[in-house]
């Protein structure tokens, strides 16, 4: 019974790990690959670690280490994925040619537009002020 549970959990985990690996191999650009890598962690690693916990029993050194590893992966890997995606975007790694939206670039354009508008308003106010003092 316990062996059956271990085999089922391991099959789920290994299947997701394999699909994540195939995704990393076949996805067209870096950002999609980062997304596949995150899937590998949450659905690929955790069921396998739970399989180890089930197989070794709750009170054992394997279980504590497996749970600690799962906790670390769950905590650290999204952080590293986020840092990597952000750094790659700043370094100008290109998106896939079929990508539809780049919301970060749109937000940046909007911000720059706002700043230009406010600077123009500032200039106009200064100009009015000078005219006012001149008369």
């Amino acid at each position: 019974m316990r062996t059956a549970i271990v085999i089922v959990l391991a099959c789920v985990g290994l299947g997701f790990s394999l699909s994540g690996a195939v995704g990393i191999l076949r996805m067209p650009d870096l950002y999609s690959r980062i997304q596949c890598s995150s899937k590998t962690i949450t659905m690929g690693a955790l069921p396998v670690l739970i399989a180890l916990v089930v197989g070794e029993g709750l009170i054992s050194s394997y279980t504590s280490r497996a749970l600690l590893t799962g906790f670390l992966l769950l905590l650290l890997n999204p952080a590293s994925s986020h840092a990597l995606a952000r750094a790659a975007y700043k370094a100008g790694v290109p998106m896939w040619s079929g990508a539809v939206r780049d919301e970060a670039a749109e937000a940046r354009e909007r911000r720059e537009q706002d700043r230009q508008d406010s600077e123009e308003g500032q200039d106009r106010r200064d100009h009015d002020h000078e005219e006012g003092t001149g008369t």
């Binding site: 590998t40 600690l68 750094a87």
Partner: protein, 86 residues
């Protein structure tokens, strides 16, 4: 049960070998770092299951260090990328 653990350990290694294709091909450095990060996770899992297969709990700490230091590697590479030093 131990055979199952051995098979799982071997399968994780096989997935890591599959990821090495992306590590070799990857057009940018960031692609390689993503592949390396995932390989590190697979290696950590493989070491954990090898410890259960060989019944040596001393190997467990190796897996734990793998899991935490892949994070450190990705952060360092991300920092270099962000400062455009690579």
């Amino acid at each position: 049960m131990r055979t199952v653990f051995g098979v799982i350990s071997f399968a994780e290694i096989a997935i890591g070998v599959l990821l090495m294709v992306r590590l070799a091909l990857g057009p940018t450095v960031a692609d390689r770092v993503v592949a390396l990060n995932t390989i590190c996770t697979q290696a950590a899992l493989s070491v954990l299951f090898y410890a259960a297969y060989a019944d040596r709990s001393i190997y467990l700490d190796v897996g734990l260090w793998f899991a935490s230091f892949s994070y450190l590697g990705a952060i360092v590479f991300a920092r270099y990328l962000e400062r455009e030093l690579l």
